[in-house]
C-alpha cells in the first residue's frame, strides 16, 4: 500500500510544556490507523496539529487532503441534524449520503437540534459529519467514546465498510464518495482499537513509543503499551 500522508519531526508546545516531541509516522492508503495512548498522551494535539487547527513548533506534513472531526463537539447546537450535515457537506461541494445516515441510525434524528441529542447520538453525528466530507483521509478523535457496546460494534462495522468500500451490514450500499477512505482514529479503549484498526501508533507523553500491526506489537496492545512505557 502506498503512503498517503507523511508526518515528520512534528513538535508542539502548550505554554512552557512540550506536548509533542519529534513525532513521525506515515499513513497508508485505505488503512485504519489507530493512535493509542492514555489521557494526556497528546493524541488530540497531534490530530489538531496535523489538521492545522493548532500551531506546531516544528515538523512537516505532506500528503493528500484530510478532514478532522474533534472529540466532544456539538456544532451549531440550535440547528437541526439535517441542517448541520448538509451545511458541512455542501462546503465541500458534496451532500450527505442517505445510506450512511441510515447506517449510523441518524435518519430519525434529522429534524432534531444537535443540542437535543444524547452523547451517543452526537457522536454518531460527528462520524457522519466526517464521512460526508469528500476528503481521502479522515481523522476522527475518540469516535467511540460515549457509544454503548452495541453502538460501538455498529460504528466499527460502518467505518470498516467505509474503508473497504463495502456496505455496512443490513444497510444499503454507501455512495462512492463516502467510501474508499483512509481513517486515522484516536482511541483510548484498547479493545475497541484492536477490533477496528489495521495498524497502531502508540503515543505516550508526546512521543511515539511503538508502531505496527497487532502481530508486530506482540498480539496484545495492553502488554505492548506497558512494555514500552
Amino acid at each position: 500500500m502506498s503512503v498517503v500522508l507523511r508526518v515528520s519531526r512534528l513538535s508542539a508546545r502548550r505554554g512552557r510544556r512540550d506536548v509533542l516531541r519529534d513525532v513521525a509516522f506515515s499513513v497508508l492508503d485505505r488503512e485504519i490507523l489507530g493512535v493509542i495512548g492514555p489521557n494526556g498522551a497528546g493524541k488530540t494535539t497531534l490530530f489538531e496539529c496535523v489538521a492545522g487547527v493548532l500551531p506546531r513548533t516544528s515538523g512537516t506534513i505532506d500528503g493528500e487532503p484530510l478532514f478532522y472531526v474533534p472529540d466532544a463537539i456539538r456544532p451549531w447546537p440550535d440547528q437541526t441534524v439535517r441542517w448541520t450535515l448538509e451545511l458541512n457537506a455542501r462546503m465541500f461541494g458534496a451532500r450527505a449520503d442517505a445510506s450512511l445516515l441510515d447506517a449510523l441510525d441518524l435518519t430519525q434524528l434529522l429534524d432534531q437540534t444537535t443540542a437535543s441529542l444524547s452523547k451517543g447520538e452526537a457522536k454518531r453525528l460527528n462520524i457522519a459529519l466526517g464521512l460526508s466530507v469528500p476528503r481521502p483521509i479522515l481523522f476522527l478523535d475518540e469516535p467511540f467514546d460515549g457509544l454503548d457496546f452495541r453502538q460501538t460494534r455498529h460504528a466499527i462495522d460502518v467505518l470498516k465498510g467505509v474503508v473497504r468500500g463495502s456496505a455496512a451490514p443490513s444497510e444499503g450500499a454507501l455512495e462512492a464518495h463516502t467510501t474508499r477512505r483512509t481513517l486515522v482514529l484516536s482511541i483510548h479503549q484498547l479493545s475497541d482499537a484492536a477490533r477496528v484498526c489495521d495498524r497502531f501508533l502508540l503515543l505516550d507523553h508526546g512521543r511515539i513509543v511503538g508502531e505496527g500491526t497487532l502481530d508486530e506489537l506482540g498480539g496484545n496492545l495492553e502488554e505492548a503499551f506497558l512494555a514500552r512505557t
Binding site: V53, Y68, P70, I73, W76, D78, Q79, T80, N88, Q112
Partner: protein, 454 residues
C-alpha cells in the same frame, strides 16, 4: 456559491439565538417610547392644546423627532447588539463548529465578511421600528429632510459596524462569551470616560475623543457628515475585524499572531492619523446649522494664514460648550489653518482667579484681538477685522438662491431663512403599533422559526 452558503449559515445562526429576538423586541419598545415622547414634546412646542407655540424656526424635525427616536438605537447598539455579535462567534467556538469551519475551503476573510453581512441584515431588520416611526411621522403630516435623515442613519450604521466589529474581535480573543461581554462593556465605559474628560481640553486627547462613538454620533445628529470621522470609524472597524481574523486563525503560531496584530495596529494608527487631517465635511442639515452664511464662509475661506484662538474658559463652563458647538465647529470646517488652545481646559473654573478668565484671544497675521463674547456674529466680525486690518468689508453681494437656508446674522447674505416645521399632532396609534403589534409580530416570527427547527 460557498460565500452565499456561508452568509445563509450565519443568518440562520443569528435567527437561531434568542438574543436576536429579544433585541428586536426591546428595540421596538424603546423606539416606540422615544418616538411617542418626541412627538408629544414636539406637539407641545408647536402649541397643541392652546399653549404658546415656540418660534417656528426653532422647530426642526431632526432635533425634535429623528434624533430622540434614533436615541433608542444608541442604547441598542451599545448594550444589546454586542451580545448578538459576540454570540455569532462565541457559539461556534464553544460548540466546536469553528474547528470544522477552519477546515472548509474558505479564507478567514470569507468567514468574517459573511458574519458582518449577517449582522448588517440583522441591523436592517432592527431598523424596521425606526422606519415605522418615520412612516407614522409622515402620516401625521410631519416634515422630513432626506439628506439629514440619511446622514443620521449613516452615522448610526457606522457606529453599528464599529460596535459589531469590536464585539467580534472580543469574542475571537476572549475565552467564552461572558468574558467578551465584560471586555466590550469595559471598552464602552472607557470611551464614555474619554469623551467626558476630553471636552474642552484640546490637544490630542480631544482629537482622540472626537472619534469615540458618542462624540461621532453627536456630529451626525447635527446633520454634519465629516469625512475624517467616516474614515476613522471605518479604519477602526477594519482593524477590529483584522484582529478577530488573527485571533480566530487557531493554526498560526502565537508569535506570528502577535506580530500581525502589532502591524495591523500600527497601520490603523497611521490611517487614523491621516484621517484626522482630512478636513472635508458636508453640512447636510436643512437649516445649515453647521455653516456660516455663504458670504462669511467665502471671507473665512480666503484666510490663508494661521488663525490662533485661545479660549480662557474651563471645560465645564456652559459658554465653552456654546462656543465649541456653535462657533468652533463651523470655523474648523471653513478655515484652512485653525489652531485652538485651551489654557484652562483641565481646570474646573470654580476657583479660577485668573483675570483673563472668560476671554477669547484671536491672533491672525500679526494682529490680535480680545473678546468675551462667544456669539457667532461677534466672532465673525472680530476675525473679519483682523483679516482686513480694520478696513470695512466691501458691500455684500446677494448669495445665489441655491435652495439652502441660512440662520446667519442680518445682512450677511440673502439666503432664505429656515422656516421651521411646527406640527401640533399627538402620536395617534403609535402606542398600539410599538407596544402591542410589534411585540406580537416578533414573538410570532420567533415561534415560527423555532417550530421549523423542531
Amino acid at each position: 456559491m460557498r460565500g452565499r452558503e456561508l452568509v445563509r449559515k450565519d443568518v440562520a445562526e443569528l435567527f437561531a439565538g434568542r438574543a436576536f429576538w429579544l433585541l428586536l423586541l426591546f428595540v421596538g419598545l424603546l423606539t416606540g417610547q422615544s418616538f411617542i415622547s418626541a412627538v408629544d414634546a414636539y406637539a407641545e412646542a408647536s402649541g397643541i392644546g392652546g399653549g404658546a407655540a415656540a418660534l417656528a424656526q426653532g422647530l426642526s424635525p431632526l432635533d425634535g423627532i429623528l434624533v430622540p427616536t434614533a436615541g433608542a438605537y444608541y442604547l441598542a447598539i451599545m448594550l444589546l447588539f454586542p451580545f448578538v455579535a459576540i454570540r455569532l462567534i462565541a457559539s461556534e467556538k464553544s460548540s466546536g463548529a469553528w474547528k470544522l469551519m477552519l477546515q472548509w475551503p474558505l479564507r478567514m476573510g470569507d468567514h468574517l465578511v459573511s458574519k458582518v453581512l449577517a449582522l448588517l441584515i440583522a441591523w436592517l431588520i432592527a431598523l424596521i421600528p425606526f422606519a415605522i416611526a418615520i412612516a407614522l411621522w409622515l402620516a401625521y403630516g410631519g416634515h422630513l429632510y432626506a439628506p439629514e435623515t440619511i446622514n443620521l442613519l449613516a452615522g448610526y450604521t457606522l457606529y453599528f459596524v464599529l460596535t459589531a466589529s469590536v464585539a467580534m474581535a472580543a469574542a475571537a480573543l476572549m475565552p467564552g462569551a461572558a468574558n467578551a461581554a465584560v471586555a466590550i462593556l469595559g471598552l464602552t465605559i472607557g470611551t464614555w470616560a474619554l469623551d467626558f474628560l476630553a471636552t474642552g481640553r484640546g490637544g490630542l486627547v480631544q482629537r482622540l475623543a472626537s472619534f469615540t462613538p458618542a462624540a461621532a454620533l453627536r456630529v451626525f445628529e447635527r446633520g454634519l457628515m465629516r469625512k475624517d470621522l467616516v474614515l476613522a470609524l471605518l479604519a477602526l472597524s477594519v482593524l477590529a475585524l483584522f484582529i478577530a481574523g488573527i485571533a480566530l486563525g487557531l493554526g498560526a503560531p502565537l508569535r506570528k499572531r502577535i506580530t500581525h496584530s502589532a502591524v495591523a495596529i500600527v497601520v490603523a494608527a497611521i490611517a487614523l492619523t491621516l484621517a484626522a487631517h482630512v478636513n472635508i465635511s458636508s453640512d447636510l442639515s436643512e437649516n445649515r446649522r453647521n455653516s456660516f452664511a455663504p458670504a462669511d464662509e467665502q471671507m473665512l475661506a480666503n484666510i490663508d494664514r494661521p488663525l490662533t484662538i485661545t479660549v480662557f474658559l474651563a471645560a465645564e463652563d456652559p459658554r465653552m460648550n456654546d462656543y465649541e458647538n456653535n462657533v468652533l465647529t463651523k470655523l474648523r470646517r471653513t478655515i484652512r489653518d485653525l489652531r485652538v488652545r485651551y489654557p484652562f481646559g483641565g481646570s474646573s473654573a470654580l476657583f479660577e482667579n485668573d483675570a483673563r478668565y472668560g476671554e477669547i484671544h484671536y491672533a491672525l497675521g500679526g494682529r490680535t484681538a480680545v473678546e468675551r463674547s462667544a456669539t457667532e456674529e461677534i466672532v465673525i466680525e472680530t476675525i473679519e477685522k483682523l483679516w482686513s486690518g480694520g478696513r470695512p468689508r466691501p458691500p455684500k453681494q446677494d448669495a445665489p438662491d441655491d435652495g439652502t437656508f441660512s440662520s446667519r446674522r442680518p445682512g450677511a447674505a440673502a439666503a432664505p431663512q429656515y422656516p421651521g416645521y411646527p406640527l401640533a399632532k399627538r402620536a395617534r396609534g403609535a402606542a398600539w403599533i410599538f407596544y402591542a403589534l410589534w411585540p406580537l409580530a416578533v414573538i410570532t416570527a420567533w415561534r415560527l422559526r423555532s417550530r421549523r427547527t423542531g
